[in-house]
């Protein structure tokens, strides 16, 4: 299977690998997928006082396309508001990385991961209020 240069670049030089403190009030964590399916993504966002996502980190267990998809979205969400980040679509991810049809589910998972991280952040801030 031939992968695009962009995909290979994200796989070989993944951006923003790591973890943020998941107990911190300004961090939202999304954990999606399942080990038995061969894909698990953990995506975290740190939201600044100005409402912008100032940092994003990921860890992914999955194929090269899953790793590249999650690496890409950490780049995309940075500097966005959570409302803006929420509009990222799996089709944009798939298009940007030129994912082959059998790998579309990786981009779906990446979109789910952002949504899950945002939902976690919102739940935390709501509780704090």
């Amino acid at each position: 299977m031939a992968y695009s240069d962009k995909l290979i670049d994200h796989y070989e030089n993944p951006r923003n690998i790591g973890s943020l403190d998941k107990s911190s009030e300004d961090v939202g964590t999304g954990l999606v997928g399942a080990p038995a399916c061969g894909d698990v993504m953990k995506l975290q966002i740190k939201v600044g006082a100005d409402g912008l996502i100032e940092d994003a980190k990921f860890k992914t267990f999955g194929c090269g396309s899953a790793i590249a998809s999650s690496s890409l979205v950490t780049e995309w969400v940075k500097g966005k508001t959570i409302d803006e980040a929420e509009t990222i679509k799996n089709t944009d991810i798939a298009k940007h990385l030129a994912l082959p049809p059998v790998k579309i589910h990786c981009s779906v998972l990446a979109e789910d991961a952002i949504k899950a991280a945002i939902a976690d952040y919102r739940a935390k801030t709501k509780k704090a209020e």
Binding site: I17, L31, A34, G38, V40, G62, C63, G64, A66, L109
Partner: protein, 412 residues
Amino acid sequence: MNVLTQIRRNDQPIYLDYQATTPMDPRVLEAMMPYFTHQFGNPHSRSHSYGWEAEEGVEKARGQVAKLIGADEKEVIFTSGATESNNLAIRGVAEFYKDRKNHIVTTVTEHKCVLDTCRHLEQSGFEVTYLPVQKNGLIDLEALRAAVTDKTVVVSVMAVNNEIGVIQPLAEIGKICREKKAFFHTDAAQAVGKIALDVEAMNIDLMSISGHKIYGPKGIGALYVRRKPRVRLVPLIVGGGQERGFRSGTLPTPLCVGLGEAAEIAMNEMEGEGKRLAKLQARMLKGLQDRLPEIFINGDLEHRIPGNLNISFAYVEGESLMMGIKNLAVSSGSACTSASLEPSYVLRALGVEEELAHTSLRIGLGRFTTEHEVDTAVDELVRHVKKLREMSPLWEMAQEGIDIKSIEWAAH
């Protein structure tokens, strides 16, 4: 020292997929060459020397193949490969004896061409028992004994598994089959030339052989069909009645000669090569185990050909690992199914949990594998497994002491 440098270009990855196929031994190619050009005759032509020469080449090859498995040369027929041999053996006996017997016994870890042949026969009214395997990949002989009835026409159990390299207890299976008066067929594509096989001592009635798994050409294989007591088959391919009527069609002389030469080389070098590969296998395993925690060998390590390792690198998905180790040509699951996203059915049959099955690689060592290549492969695997574990949320959880099974994952 060896022909590796002639076979592999410098810009190609190190070949560690010897269960998928093998490069042709240059000695095999040399033996074949004349039969492509000036000795081009039809081996079935009886009226001139072109035909006689070709026939001589084919018959010598038949003898070479027979000798490797302890058979008589009259009992070996040439086919297009092990897939055809498996189809012919199972379907052929099932169809021939269908008035008296209607039951087939096989195992869940067989090659797809055996399983699919059985599925087709089920559709035309045969009953098939698919024996499970134990955790080590070997069948339970008592379960086999219990499964064979007086309606069982054939028991088909592979000699060596293509994914995990485990060797089934052939002599014991043969004994049970003989006692129960069922034919014993074995798909020996991965076993021939690698372990000692003897159709007499093992009571094997039908044996499938592949050319390209033993450093011979692709497109040629053989089927051993016992003559005493006689095994009868309905042919798949009919026509001129070549190959004792079991397989019509003009024999591809150069390919037959290549298979014969490959068989002879394998026989002469089996013992020394087996020892050499066992050392390489141990070296690779030790290299990985010394430097990587939480790796698991799939399938029995003792009852296994030395040219195979199947390893789960926990917390690292196999496909992403293969993408990283660009300088190594290995496979995850079997080559036939590696385009699908399902984990290997063989590993699942062993009871390997799905999350571990997703992390497995098949590493095949062979005649042209060097110690240096093994060391390079170990370095590359260790480096990438470590890198991918640093990226793995599952590895992180495991390090924090979180039991991954305690989490309610949403299946997708």
